[in-house]
Protein backbone atom coordinates (compact mmCIF):
# COMPACT_ATOMS: atom_id res chain seq x y z
CA UNK A 1 0.00 0.00 0.00
CA UNK A 2 1.52 3.33 -0.98
CA UNK A 3 1.67 6.49 1.11
CA UNK A 4 -1.05 8.27 -0.85
CA UNK A 5 -3.54 5.44 -0.14
CA UNK A 6 -2.62 5.45 3.55
CA UNK A 7 -3.20 9.21 3.75
CA UNK A 8 -6.53 8.87 1.93
CA UNK A 9 -7.61 6.08 4.28
CA UNK A 10 -6.58 8.13 7.29
CA UNK A 11 -8.50 11.11 5.93
CA UNK A 12 -11.64 9.00 5.58
CA UNK A 13 -11.28 7.58 9.10
CA UNK A 14 -10.84 11.14 10.40
CA UNK A 15 -13.94 12.30 8.55
CA UNK A 16 -16.05 9.42 9.93
CA UNK A 17 -14.85 10.00 13.50
CA UNK A 18 -15.38 13.75 13.20
CA UNK A 19 -18.97 13.25 11.98
CA UNK A 20 -19.61 10.83 14.86
CA UNK A 21 -18.13 13.34 17.33
CA UNK A 22 -20.31 16.16 15.94
CA UNK A 23 -23.42 13.99 16.19
CA UNK A 24 -22.60 13.13 19.81
CA UNK A 25 -21.79 16.75 20.74
CA UNK A 26 -24.95 18.25 19.24
CA UNK A 27 -27.50 15.41 19.51
CA UNK A 28 -26.45 12.63 21.87
CA UNK A 29 -24.89 14.29 24.89
CA UNK A 30 -27.15 15.93 27.51
CA UNK A 31 -26.80 19.64 28.26
CA UNK A 32 -24.76 20.34 31.36
CA UNK A 33 -26.94 21.69 34.20
CA UNK A 34 -24.82 24.65 35.38
CA UNK A 35 -23.18 26.00 32.25
CA UNK A 36 -25.85 25.15 29.73
CA UNK A 37 -25.30 24.77 26.01
CA UNK A 38 -21.97 26.61 25.95
CA UNK A 39 -20.38 23.72 27.88
CA UNK A 40 -20.44 21.78 24.58
CA UNK A 41 -17.39 23.80 23.47
CA UNK A 42 -15.48 21.68 25.96
CA UNK A 43 -15.84 18.52 23.78
CA UNK A 44 -13.63 20.05 21.09
CA UNK A 45 -11.58 22.35 23.33
CA UNK A 46 -10.08 19.52 25.39
CA UNK A 47 -9.14 17.35 22.34
CA UNK A 48 -7.45 20.41 20.77
CA UNK A 49 -5.39 20.77 23.95
CA UNK A 50 -4.54 17.05 23.99
CA UNK A 51 -3.40 17.17 20.36
CA UNK A 52 -1.35 20.34 20.95
CA UNK A 53 0.42 18.71 23.92
CA UNK A 54 1.06 15.52 21.94
CA UNK A 55 2.51 17.47 19.03
CA UNK A 56 4.82 19.50 21.25
CA UNK A 57 6.02 16.31 22.93
CA UNK A 58 6.69 14.96 19.43
CA UNK A 59 8.70 18.11 18.59
CA UNK A 60 10.90 17.43 21.62
CA UNK A 61 11.34 13.73 20.75
CA UNK A 62 12.17 14.57 17.13
CA UNK A 63 14.58 17.24 18.38
CA UNK A 64 16.43 14.73 20.55
CA UNK A 65 16.73 12.29 17.64
CA UNK A 66 17.86 15.06 15.28
CA UNK A 67 20.60 16.18 17.67
CA UNK A 68 21.61 12.57 18.25
CA UNK A 69 21.50 11.16 14.71
CA UNK A 70 21.66 14.34 12.59
CA UNK A 71 19.16 12.96 10.08
CA UNK A 72 17.02 15.48 8.20
CA UNK A 73 13.94 13.28 8.55
CA UNK A 74 13.78 14.06 12.30
CA UNK A 75 14.00 17.76 11.66
CA UNK A 76 11.16 17.54 9.12
CA UNK A 77 9.05 15.57 11.62
CA UNK A 78 9.73 18.11 14.39
CA UNK A 79 8.89 21.05 12.15
CA UNK A 80 5.67 19.40 10.94
CA UNK A 81 4.64 18.62 14.53
CA UNK A 82 5.44 22.16 15.75
CA UNK A 83 3.40 23.77 12.99
CA UNK A 84 0.40 21.45 13.51
CA UNK A 85 0.69 21.88 17.28
CA UNK A 86 0.66 25.63 16.87
CA UNK A 87 -2.62 25.43 14.93
CA UNK A 88 -4.25 23.33 17.67
CA UNK A 89 -2.78 25.45 20.48
CA UNK A 90 -4.26 28.54 18.81
CA UNK A 91 -7.63 26.78 18.73
CA UNK A 92 -7.30 25.94 22.44
CA UNK A 93 -6.77 29.60 23.31
CA UNK A 94 -9.54 30.85 21.01
CA UNK A 95 -12.20 28.31 22.01
CA UNK A 96 -11.26 28.68 25.69
CA UNK A 97 -11.72 32.40 25.38
CA UNK A 98 -15.12 32.01 23.69
CA UNK A 99 -16.21 29.66 26.48
CA UNK A 100 -14.89 32.02 29.18
CA UNK A 101 -16.89 35.05 28.07
CA UNK A 102 -20.38 33.72 28.97
CA UNK A 103 -19.16 31.65 31.94
CA UNK A 104 -16.64 34.00 33.60
CA UNK A 105 -17.87 37.23 32.04
CA UNK A 106 -14.45 37.96 30.51
CA UNK A 107 -12.64 36.81 27.37
CA UNK A 108 -9.38 36.40 29.27
CA UNK A 109 -8.05 36.24 32.82
CA UNK A 110 -4.45 35.77 33.92
CA UNK A 111 -5.28 32.40 35.42
CA UNK A 112 -2.41 29.90 35.79
CA UNK A 113 -3.77 27.46 33.16
CA UNK A 114 -4.46 30.21 30.66
CA UNK A 115 -1.14 31.96 31.25
CA UNK A 116 0.97 28.80 30.98
CA UNK A 117 -0.91 27.86 27.78
CA UNK A 118 -0.25 31.31 26.34
CA UNK A 119 3.45 30.91 27.23
CA UNK A 120 3.41 27.55 25.41
CA UNK A 121 1.87 29.23 22.35
CA UNK A 122 4.51 31.98 22.44
CA UNK A 123 7.34 29.44 22.81
CA UNK A 124 6.26 27.51 19.71
CA UNK A 125 5.56 30.77 17.90
CA UNK A 126 9.19 31.60 18.62
CA UNK A 127 10.24 28.17 17.34
CA UNK A 128 8.41 28.72 14.04
CA UNK A 129 9.81 32.25 13.67
CA UNK A 130 13.31 30.94 14.28
CA UNK A 131 12.83 28.25 11.63
CA UNK A 132 11.39 30.75 9.17
CA UNK A 133 14.33 33.12 9.64
CA UNK A 134 17.00 30.40 9.58
CA UNK A 135 15.70 28.95 6.30
CA UNK A 136 16.91 25.47 5.38
CA UNK A 137 20.24 25.80 7.17
CA UNK A 138 21.59 23.00 9.35
CA UNK A 139 22.26 25.51 12.12
CA UNK A 140 18.60 26.57 12.07
CA UNK A 141 17.54 22.95 12.41
CA UNK A 142 19.91 22.45 15.38
CA UNK A 143 18.70 25.60 17.15
CA UNK A 144 15.12 24.59 16.40
CA UNK A 145 15.69 21.17 17.97
CA UNK A 146 17.08 22.77 21.15
CA UNK A 147 14.21 25.29 21.37
CA UNK A 148 11.69 22.47 20.76
CA UNK A 149 13.14 20.41 23.62
CA UNK A 150 13.31 23.33 26.06
CA UNK A 151 9.81 24.57 25.17
CA UNK A 152 8.30 21.12 25.83
CA UNK A 153 9.09 21.63 29.53
CA UNK A 154 6.05 23.91 29.64
CA UNK A 155 3.69 21.08 28.59
CA UNK A 156 3.65 19.27 31.99
CA UNK A 157 3.51 22.66 33.71
CA UNK A 158 0.30 23.50 31.80
CA UNK A 159 -1.17 20.10 32.70
CA UNK A 160 -0.47 20.34 36.46
CA UNK A 161 -1.08 24.11 36.71
CA UNK A 162 -4.64 23.60 37.97
CA UNK A 163 -3.30 21.52 40.84
CA UNK A 164 -0.23 23.62 41.65
CA UNK A 165 -1.79 27.08 41.82
CA UNK A 166 -5.11 28.63 42.77
CA UNK A 167 -7.12 28.75 39.60
CA UNK A 168 -10.64 29.31 38.33
CA UNK A 169 -10.10 26.99 35.36
CA UNK A 170 -12.25 23.86 35.73
CA UNK A 171 -10.31 20.65 36.39
CA UNK A 172 -12.60 18.40 34.41
CA UNK A 173 -10.51 15.37 33.47
CA UNK A 174 -8.88 14.88 36.87
CA UNK A 175 -10.41 16.96 39.66
CA UNK A 176 -8.55 18.11 42.74
CA UNK A 177 -10.48 15.50 44.73
CA UNK A 178 -9.57 12.72 42.26
CA UNK A 179 -11.92 11.19 39.70
CA UNK A 180 -13.32 13.16 36.78
CA UNK A 181 -15.75 16.02 36.68
CA UNK A 182 -18.11 14.64 34.06
CA UNK A 183 -21.42 13.79 35.69
CA UNK A 184 -22.97 11.65 32.92
CA UNK A 185 -21.48 8.58 31.17
CA UNK A 186 -22.70 10.02 27.85
CA UNK A 187 -20.43 13.02 28.46
CA UNK A 188 -17.47 10.70 28.96
CA UNK A 189 -18.33 8.77 25.78
CA UNK A 190 -18.64 12.00 23.78
CA UNK A 191 -15.32 13.26 25.05
CA UNK A 192 -13.62 9.95 24.20
CA UNK A 193 -15.00 9.97 20.63
CA UNK A 194 -13.92 13.59 20.21
CA UNK A 195 -10.46 12.71 21.49
CA UNK A 196 -10.26 9.86 18.97
CA UNK A 197 -11.45 12.16 16.15
CA UNK A 198 -8.88 14.83 16.95
CA UNK A 199 -6.09 12.28 17.36
CA UNK A 200 -6.90 10.92 13.89
CA UNK A 201 -7.10 14.47 12.52
CA UNK A 202 -3.73 15.30 14.02
CA UNK A 203 -2.07 12.18 12.58
CA UNK A 204 -3.59 12.92 9.16
CA UNK A 205 -2.49 16.58 9.18
CA UNK A 206 0.94 15.61 10.49
CA UNK A 207 1.35 13.08 7.65
CA UNK A 208 0.32 15.67 5.04
CA UNK A 209 2.70 18.31 6.40
CA UNK A 210 5.52 15.80 6.88
CA UNK A 211 5.22 14.63 3.28
CA UNK A 212 5.33 18.26 2.10
CA UNK A 213 8.48 18.90 4.12
CA UNK A 214 10.10 15.70 2.82
CA UNK A 215 9.34 16.89 -0.71
CA UNK A 216 10.95 20.25 0.05
CA UNK A 217 14.04 18.48 1.38
CA UNK A 218 14.19 16.30 -1.75
CA UNK A 219 13.76 19.38 -3.93
CA UNK A 220 16.68 21.08 -2.17
CA UNK A 221 18.91 18.02 -2.72
CA UNK A 222 17.84 17.81 -6.38
CA UNK A 223 18.53 21.52 -6.91
CA UNK A 224 22.06 21.06 -5.55
CA UNK A 225 22.72 18.01 -7.76
CA UNK A 226 21.31 19.84 -10.75
CA UNK A 227 23.54 22.87 -10.16
CA UNK A 228 26.57 20.55 -9.93
CA UNK A 229 25.55 18.65 -13.07
CA UNK A 230 24.98 21.87 -15.02
CA UNK A 231 28.36 23.23 -13.92
CA UNK A 232 30.03 19.96 -15.00
CA UNK A 233 28.22 20.06 -18.36
CA UNK A 234 29.48 23.60 -19.00
CA UNK A 235 33.09 22.51 -18.30
Amino acid sequence: MNGRAVRLGLGLVTLALMLAALYMVFVYVPTEAEQGIVQRIFYFHVPCAWVAFASFALVAIAGVFYLWLGQQVWDDLGYAAAESGMVFCTLVLVTGSIWAKPIWGAWWTWDSRLTTTLILWLLYGGYLMLRAMAGDSEQGARFGAVVGIVAAIDVPIVIVSVRLWRTIHPAVLVTRQGGHGLEDPRMVATLLVSLAAFTALFIWILCLRFVTLRMRTRLGALARSLALAEAAAQD
Binding site: K101, P102, A229
Partner: protein, 62 residues
Protein backbone atom coordinates in the same frame (compact mmCIF):
# COMPACT_ATOMS: atom_id res chain seq x y z
CA UNK B 1 -24.49 37.48 22.18
CA UNK B 2 -26.53 34.53 23.48
CA UNK B 3 -24.93 31.23 24.45
CA UNK B 4 -25.85 29.56 21.16
CA UNK B 5 -23.87 32.21 19.29
CA UNK B 6 -20.77 31.46 21.42
CA UNK B 7 -21.16 27.76 20.69
CA UNK B 8 -21.58 28.42 16.96
CA UNK B 9 -18.60 30.79 16.90
CA UNK B 10 -16.33 28.26 18.63
CA UNK B 11 -17.15 25.40 16.26
CA UNK B 12 -17.10 27.64 13.17
CA UNK B 13 -13.62 28.90 14.08
CA UNK B 14 -12.33 25.38 14.73
CA UNK B 15 -13.49 24.12 11.33
CA UNK B 16 -12.45 27.27 9.46
CA UNK B 17 -8.91 27.13 10.90
CA UNK B 18 -8.51 23.40 10.25
CA UNK B 19 -9.91 23.68 6.73
CA UNK B 20 -7.65 26.67 6.02
CA UNK B 21 -4.58 24.84 7.27
CA UNK B 22 -5.33 21.68 5.27
CA UNK B 23 -5.90 23.84 2.18
CA UNK B 24 -2.57 25.57 2.77
CA UNK B 25 -0.76 22.21 3.02
CA UNK B 26 -2.55 20.82 -0.04
CA UNK B 27 -1.68 23.86 -2.20
CA UNK B 28 1.94 23.73 -1.03
CA UNK B 29 2.07 20.03 -1.88
CA UNK B 30 0.69 20.58 -5.38
CA UNK B 31 3.23 23.38 -6.02
CA UNK B 32 6.12 21.27 -4.72
CA UNK B 33 5.06 18.27 -6.81
CA UNK B 34 5.10 20.45 -9.95
CA UNK B 35 8.52 21.85 -9.02
CA UNK B 36 9.85 18.34 -8.37
CA UNK B 37 8.58 17.04 -11.71
CA UNK B 38 10.15 19.99 -13.56
CA UNK B 39 13.46 19.50 -11.81
CA UNK B 40 13.49 15.75 -12.45
CA UNK B 41 12.79 16.41 -16.14
CA UNK B 42 15.72 18.86 -16.28
CA UNK B 43 17.94 16.31 -14.57
CA UNK B 44 16.92 13.60 -17.08
CA UNK B 45 17.53 15.98 -20.00
CA UNK B 46 20.98 16.79 -18.63
CA UNK B 47 21.78 13.08 -18.19
CA UNK B 48 20.63 12.36 -21.74
CA UNK B 49 22.75 15.20 -23.12
CA UNK B 50 25.78 13.97 -21.16
CA UNK B 51 25.18 10.42 -22.43
CA UNK B 52 24.89 11.63 -26.03
CA UNK B 53 28.06 13.71 -25.71
CA UNK B 54 29.94 10.73 -24.31
CA UNK B 55 28.72 8.47 -27.14
CA UNK B 56 29.72 11.08 -29.75
CA UNK B 57 33.16 11.41 -28.16
CA UNK B 58 33.73 7.63 -28.18
CA UNK B 59 32.60 7.43 -31.83
CA UNK B 60 34.94 10.20 -32.90
CA UNK B 61 37.89 8.65 -31.01
CA UNK B 62 37.33 5.24 -32.63
Amino acid sequence: MDNLSYLFAAYAIIFAVIFGYVLFIWRRQVALEAELRAMEARMRALDDAAGAAKAAASRSSS
